[in-house]
Amino acid sequence: MELVGLASFLVFFLTLAGIYALVTLGLNVQWGFSGQFNIGIAGFWAIGAYTAAILDTPASPFHLGGFAMPFWVGALAATLLAAAVAFLVGVICVDLRTDYLAIATIGIGEIIRLVLKNEEWLTNGVRGIAGIPRLFEALGRSGQALAFLGFVLLAILLVYALVERAARSPWGRVQRAIRDEELAVAACGRDVRRFRLESFVLGSAIMGFAGAVHAHFVGFISPEAFDPLFTTFLVWVMLVVGGSGNNRGAILGAFLVWAIWSLAQFATAYLPLAWAGRAGALRVLLVGVLLQLVLLWRPQGLLPERPPPPVVRRDA
């Protein structure tokens, strides 16, 4: 019985870590590839989750809905809507240098969260949206969980293949050049705005897609789930620990940090009673310390960025 419990926890853990890995891959496109400091991750993730939730749930008196669309429709719409919002934000903000873009995206993330919290007709406000259909329901409880994990891993593989190809392509080369010396890229005839906008939109679209997967995994979403602490902050730690600029690093960082985050939850169970109320804060503290240690001792992350293999091999 213990073992079954452990196995099902492991499946749950891996699935959620996998969803984080998707979001972290999205952030890597923005920060790792082209140096754009997005601190509004929570917003794009939430847009994806809510879009899928509204489109895919049966009718409810509490929020807009009743479309009962299949998963893939919700996921596609989530991806496209996150991309569209990122495009609008990007057109305005993409010229901002790193720290200013960070400030702007913090604001945008908060605006999105407040809209989701307050527009009750759309999202049922703080009470959230329940009854988001789970995938593979026909397979029974444990079969469903396993199948969903398989699906998430497959999604990671697909997104990894796309972003890795992007990184190795001339497109990715221009992105890295912009990250290093924007003016020289402009002198080379490239429209820097266009490239920055594209990576911002691509990264946000991936976050939106991850949001749709997330909604269908947990079955219930509310604004609370998109607290910047559990989304934006954690994803940034994942990318920094794993190695920004390295897609495998992004995936590794997501699984590793999520493991530490989850294990910390178990550890806090052994805290003296007087401390139990502070368990959540201690967890955050632990991850914060981890981030500090990595930045001090291995700022390039566990899997540092390397120049990608050349598109064509040179002879000799």
Partner: protein
């Protein structure tokens, strides 16, 4: 191509960096742009290349008004510029630094990169071959896989010049190509610039403080001071010019050699 600057002015705060400045760079020449520090040479370069918008005046390229165009559009008209402090891509390899430059790369379209990879590879083959030639020519072949950030100052300057050779532009603004490059290399670079101008018809406008290099390479030489053109002519003539010597505070312009 002919570069014409017409009555251009630019102020930064209270400082009038460029004042009603007019000059012409004739096609096929290696035009030197000299003057004491703060004469406005770099600002004028930025204006010609489109990195700074002038407060007034116009910039023409072969008669076409390019004043409102952003830098990347000017590149496609055939105008390229280098930077005083080499702006190389530090976290990319030497070869990658060159591969960024050539235009019309289908792989810069994400959809093409995802779904039509063979097209990307085909264009890349041409570019890599060209980059190989440029690396050989500049003696950087050995360093092709090194990170550009690890190069010496002189090597970075060379790499910056390598990007000039990778671009299809034939009108080039060079901002102090000689700074930090040793004598031997400088001689080779000067030979290369002369060859490109005289045999292949390239146009160069060069800001340079190394007067030996200016003397050897540039004709005509335009002297700027206090934001505008002081005089213009052959190097041998202008270095005897009283005004010019004064502008340089009686200093560095080979004055000791003048009678």
């Amino acid at each position: 191509m002919r570069i014409e600057v017409r009555n251009v002015s630019k102020a930064f705060g209270g400082i009038r960096a460029v004042r009603d400045c007019s000059l012409t760079v004739e096609p096929g020449t290696i035009t030197g742009l000299i003057g004491p520090n703060g004469a406005g040479k770099s600002t004028l370069f930025d204006i010609i290349a489109g990195f700074t918008r002038p407060d007034s005046g116009r910039v023409l390229l072969d008669g076409r008004d390019i004043t409102p165009l952003p830098p990347h559009r000017r590149f496609h008209l055939g105008l390229y510029r280098t930077f005083q402090i080499p702006r190389i891509f530090a976290r990319m390899t030497v070869e990658e630094n060159l591969l960024v430059v050539p235009p019309h790369q289908p792989g810069e379209n994400l959809l093409v990169s995802w779904f039509l990879w063979p097209r990307v590879v085909r264009r890349e083959r041409e570019i890599v071959r060209r980059a190989g030639e440029v690396l050989e020519r500049l003696g950087l072949w050995r360093l092709r896989d090194a990170l550009a950030g690890e190069l010496s100052g002189g090597q970075k300057k060379l790499l910056e010049f390598g990007r000039v050779l990778m671009s299809p532009c034939r009108t080039v603004l060079l901002d102090e190509p000689g700074a930090g490059v040793n004598r031997t290399l400088m001689a080779r670079l000067a030979g290369l610039i002369a060859e490109l101008a005289h045999e292949e018809g390239w146009t160069f406008c060069i800001v340079e403080h190394d007067m030996d290099l200016v003397a050897r390479l540039c004709d005509p030489v335009i002297v700027m001071a206090e934001g505008t053109v002081l005089t213009q002519g052959r190097f041998d003539d202008i270095r005897r010019d009283r005004q010019v010597i004064e502008a340089y505070l009686g200093g560095t312009l080979g004055a000791e050699a003048a009678p």
